[in-house]
Symmetry: C2
Subunit: 221 residues, 2 copies
Amino acid sequence: MSEQREGGERLSRAAAHRLSLYLRALAGWPADGGKVSSGRIAEACAVSDAQVRRDLAALGNLGQRGIGYDARDLVAAIRAALGIDRTWRAVLVGVGNLARALLRYQGFRAQGFDIVGLFDTDPAKIGQVVEGLTVESAATLGGRAKELGAELAVLTVPAETAQAVADVLAAAGVRGVLNFAPVLLRLPPRVKLVTVDLAIQLEQLAFLIQPGEAEPAPADG
Amino acid sequence: MSEQREGGERLSRAAAHRLSLYLRALAGWPADGGKVSSGRIAEACAVSDAQVRRDLAALGNLGQRGIGYDARDLVAAIRAALGIDRTWRAVLVGVGNLARALLRYQGFRAQGFDIVGLFDTDPAKIGQVVEGLTVESAATLGGRAKELGAELAVLTVPAETAQAVADVLAAAGVRGVLNFAPVLLRLPPRVKLVTVDLAIQLEQLAFLIQPGEAEPAPADG
């Protein structure tokens, strides 16, 4: 993962991931409207102090030497850099237990993700109201995603159907997919993909606890 | 993320992640007992052919020039390298929707993770049978985790209680924690941590779809 960016203005994906960690650390501290040091963020996120200062310097002239960063300004700057200082309209496809857990997850709305439509293929689920939204037929997904102005989609469908659903969403103009199905999706380059593959996370944990593993456990996302 | 390892025998964490992706790709293809080329794996995982060949060469003498790899041997070698060629006993703490989704997730057992105990603080949940296991009181977690021989733990508890639960698990001798609570946990170095932080994944997706972002979307886990 290279930290070098040709344009210079945009963050690397690794830097964006660290900014997410900083935001998580800042959220865990009392909102006293006070100052926070790069060292405190560095310690909480298991990143070097110098790295934190470099990452935050890239966001603009935020800190004051010897005083630190204004916590509120820092949160606002990081949210702007990550693109979560606005609301994203999203549809969710596949209304099972995972979807219900996600819909109840406070973080969705807090990060500016507004779920505006639920879809499923199961006739028993279509018409049900889940967390205030009525489940619609997945057969109508393409047209409805456009009507709803969905920019993002959350996929909590079985692996077998994920690619077909992703194709419909891509054709409907969705720009990003958060995929929980354990499958490697293929999407046109204009549609961005983040996959949360639990099997891979489990494998990484098994790998880490094998005898001989000496790397420190980072607080990764 | 450095690919350099001082010892030389162990994989880097990045390489382990790529092996997980290769395994995912191999699982998606028909088990015809046949051969598979590094190029086919490379294409499915959006990794270079040379990288795939290097990663697989590190696992031993598996491929034959011009013929490719035996798919079954490759899967076995990757599973051994990742430490999922055995069964890991795990407890799950926090029996909500996410936990229910995870318990139904076929990948858990397929990756060798055997959930042997469920724990919650909610009196209404204690005693319930979920996916064949009786939910026990979280107050008994430390002693029961030892009795059950738990090596791993899955945390699906609220952010506020995650650290306290993690401390109990660490004291009980658990070696690895798969954490879904949106919080940066602190654990002793002998306890490994993999955090699945949905807020961070959402932030990364928002970051990727911002105007100006030009990086290809990797099939990450």
